[in-house]
């Protein structure tokens, strides 16, 4: 494994080289697949909700399921995530319910983040899944800092942070990796290189030969892995996590993958992207690839998939129904959580708002991005 070669484990036909296979248990393999499947189904469903005008916005992870599920599976439950917005499989893997996910899309009164953020910007304390931010890259330095804190405290938590190829251009990528390198922070930096940052292709993002090559600038290993191969991603990340936990410092992992959808529900990739490129990646679908491996091991059948898919859909639809039926957060919630305790100014502003009569404004427009 190096910063220029690409590690692949599952071959086209589903075979895996013995010396490379991470040898996960049957149950673990099925759990990974089921998580990837759930993420895909949820993504599809949520985009449909957006198209129907039932939720305001959505960001799919179509095609990147192996990349984030495979990496996340390398952690213990006590380890932490500093995620970006394209890892829906992680909360699912960590047992977050569809209710909690759907509540966030609707920004309703039981949303864990109280309707403060756009859809897909989850916060799940129960899963050590830190609140997602929109500004690109900010989670990267935070993960480095949390890793420094764990070392100071002397605990053995490992931190995994996610960002895209675009994110490598951010200020925080540079500072985050630099700090982690200097302090040997127990962090795995996962760059999901899906080739595009909205409409900007990788070669417009950096002249670096690979993303993994950037690790040298920070004195840490940089590993390039086939991001559509869940076992390869798992294996590389598992090694990085172990290194981190032992105190040997951070790793940059580049998962080479592809954004199969548009950037978001507001974007139309057809305006700037080549159909042929998409087609070629379509052949490398991470679920199909994993299916072939599981089939070879006798762990996958169409029936099993259909049954799982049906169960997921049912659960999900029920959750959506419940989420949709809930009201918006109460007016008072607007003024909560600015600080632990509201200031006199906030209390006054709340009172003023509460004292108003007449209809509330309703001419809020649509989000284009």
């Amino acid at each position: 494994m190096s910063s220029t070669e690409l590690l692949t484990i599952i071959e086209k036909d589903g075979r895996a080289a013995k010396d490379k296979d991470p040898n996960l248990s049957d149950a673990e393999l099925k759990r990974l697949y089921a998580t990837m499947l759930a993420a895909r189904i949820m993504d599809e469903r949520a985009l449909a909700l957006q198209r129907q005008g039932r939720i305001g916005f959505y960001l799919q992870a179509l095609g990147q399921e192996a990349s984030h599920v495979g990496s996340a599976a390398a952690l213990r439950d006590s380890d932490w995530f500093f995620p970006a917005y394209r890892q829906p499989g992680i909360p699912i893997l960590r047992g977050v319910s569809f209710d909690d996910l759907a509540n966030e899309w609707y920004g309703n009164d039981v949303d864990t983040s109280k309707g403060r953020q756009m859809p897909v910007h989850y916060s799940f304390r129960s899963a050590n899944f830190v609140s997602i931010s929109s500004p690109i890259g900010t989670q990267i330095t935070q993960a480095a800092g949390a890793g420094m804190a764990a070392r100071i405290r002397g605990d053995d938590t490992v931190f995994m942070t996610y960002f895209g190829d675009g994110g490598t251009s951010s200020n925080d990528f540079h500072s985050g990796l630099n700090f982690a390198g200097v302090y040997k922070a127990p962090v795995v930096f996962v760059c999901e290189n899906n080739q595009w940052a909205i409409s900007v292709p990788l070669k417009g993002q950096t002249a670096s030969e690979t993303i993994a090559a950037k690790a040298a600038a920070y004195g840490m290993p940089g590993i390039r892995v086939d991001g559509n191969d869940v076992l390869a991603v798992y294996r590389v990340c598992k090694e990085a996590v172990e290194r981190a936990r032992k105190g040997d410092g951070p790793t940059l992992v580049e998962t080479v993958t592809y954004r199969m959808g548009s950037h978001s529900s507001s974007d139309d990739a057809a305006r700037y992207r080549d159909e042929a490129e998409w087609e070629s990646w379509k052949q490398r679908d991470p679920l199909q690839r994993f299916q072939r491996y599981l089939t070879k091991r006798g762990l996958w059948s169409q029936d099993w998939e259909d049954e799982r898919a049906a169960a997921i859909k049912e659960e999900l639809n029920a959750a959506i129904k419940r989420a949709e039926a809930r009201p918006k957060p109460p007016l008072a919630s607007l003024f909560e959580d600015v600080f632990m305790n509201p200031t006199p100014q906030l209390r006054e502003q709340q009172r003023q708002l509460e004292s108003l009569e007449g209809p509330e404004a309703d001419d809020i427009g649509e989000f284009p991005l």
């Binding site: 993002q205 305006r271 600015v338 809020i364």
Partner: protein, 324 residues
């Protein structure tokens, strides 16, 4: 004169100046083939090629730092920042470099550049696609801060900004991009920086509003009309330099002043308006100087409609200047 939307007027101004001056270049994230996430640069790369309109890596620090270098070297950069909320990685280049280059070099080096960026709420953008932080820039000597509220002003002010010899923050009210339409003069159309506009004449109270708050103020004025109160609305159009005299004249006439802005109330631009009025028109005031603003909270998603100043809040603010 053609009817156009505010965002079409922006594109029109860009095209006009790029034809007019081949030193002008446009760049930012997704401004090329995609034409920008809101479409403000639609067709620009096609017409002017990818040397004069190009995409950048995802670094606002790089975008603005590069723009400063370009301006110092002598071309005319127009940098698009995708959302004002995402400008902060570039804040150092803006406040420490662009704003101070002329001063710190004794005028040897200058930094004529425009930073265009959509700002403000009203499009369900939530926490990070809705902010109005114009006050940060107004508090930074060396920057001009321009905010249009109509398509004609968008064109005329943007053209002036591009021709200006100093750095200009050109903040575009994204809520108005397509919702506000109007006549826009074709071809050359210049609106000078530093001259406000009387949006509506009135005699009883002055409302100062800019950007997407102008239409809200207008509706509130109509509501007040029905209560028999005559509202004068002033749109300063450029916050820096500010047309203080226009505001003061109006307040001296009406005796009352309300400012309306979307940003958090504390230390927002409305505080500046209030401070000017309380210093220079104190003898004319017949009621409290009122601010109707965003709350001192981060921007919410689900309750956006409660956060943004709306007609009932502006009306309540105006009423307060009469009944106190």
């Amino acid at each position: 004169m053609a009817q156009s939307t505010l965002i079409e007027a922006v594109t029109d101004a860009l095209r006009h100046e790029m034809r007019n001056d081949d030193r002008v270049v446009v760049f930012g994230e997704d401004v090329g083939k995609k034409g920008g996430v809101f479409g403000a640069t639609t067709g620009i790369q096609e017409e002017f090629g990818d040397q004069r309109c190009f995409d950048t890596p995802l670094s606002e620090c790089g975008i603005i730092g590069a723009a400063v270098g370009m301006a110092v070297y002598g071309i005319r950069p127009i940098a698009e920042i995708q959302f004002l909320d995402f400008i902060y990685p570039a804040f150092d280049q803006i406040v420490s470099e662009a704003a101070k280059m002329r001063y710190r070099s004794g005028g040897e080096y200058t930094c004529p550049m425009v930073i265009r960026t959509p700002y403000g709420g009203g499009i369900r953008g939530g926490h990070y696609h809705s902010q109005s932080s114009e006050a940060y820039f107004c508090h930074t000597p060396g920057l001009k801060v321009v905010i249009p509220s109509t398509p004609a002003d968008a064109k005329g002010l943007l053209i002036s900004s591009i021709r200006d010899e100093d750095p200009v923050m050109f903040l575009e009210p994204k809520r108005s991009y397509r919702s506000v339409k109007g006549e826009v003069p074709e071809g050359e159309h210049v609106v000078p920086l530093g001259k406000g506009r009387v949006v509506r004449e009135g005699t009883d109270v002055t409302v100062v509003a800019y950007g997407a708050m102008v239409p809200v103020a207008e509706k509130a004025a109509e509501a007040m009309q029905q209560q028999g109160k005559s509202v004068e609305i002033i749109d300063p159009r450029s916050l820096v330099p500010l047309d203080e005299e226009l505001i003061l004249e109006s307040v001296r006439k009406t005796g009352r002043c309300v400012s309306v802005y979307e940003a958090p109330k504390t230390c927002g631009f409305g505080a500046e308006i209030a401070a000017i009025v309380a210093e220079k028109a104190i003898g004319h005031l017949e009621g409290p100087v009122v601010r109707v603003a965003g709350f001192d909270t981060p921007f919410p998603y689900a309750l956006e409609h409660l956060y943004m100043p709306d007609v009932r809040r502006v009306v309540a603010g105006i009423e307060k200047t009469f009944n106190w």
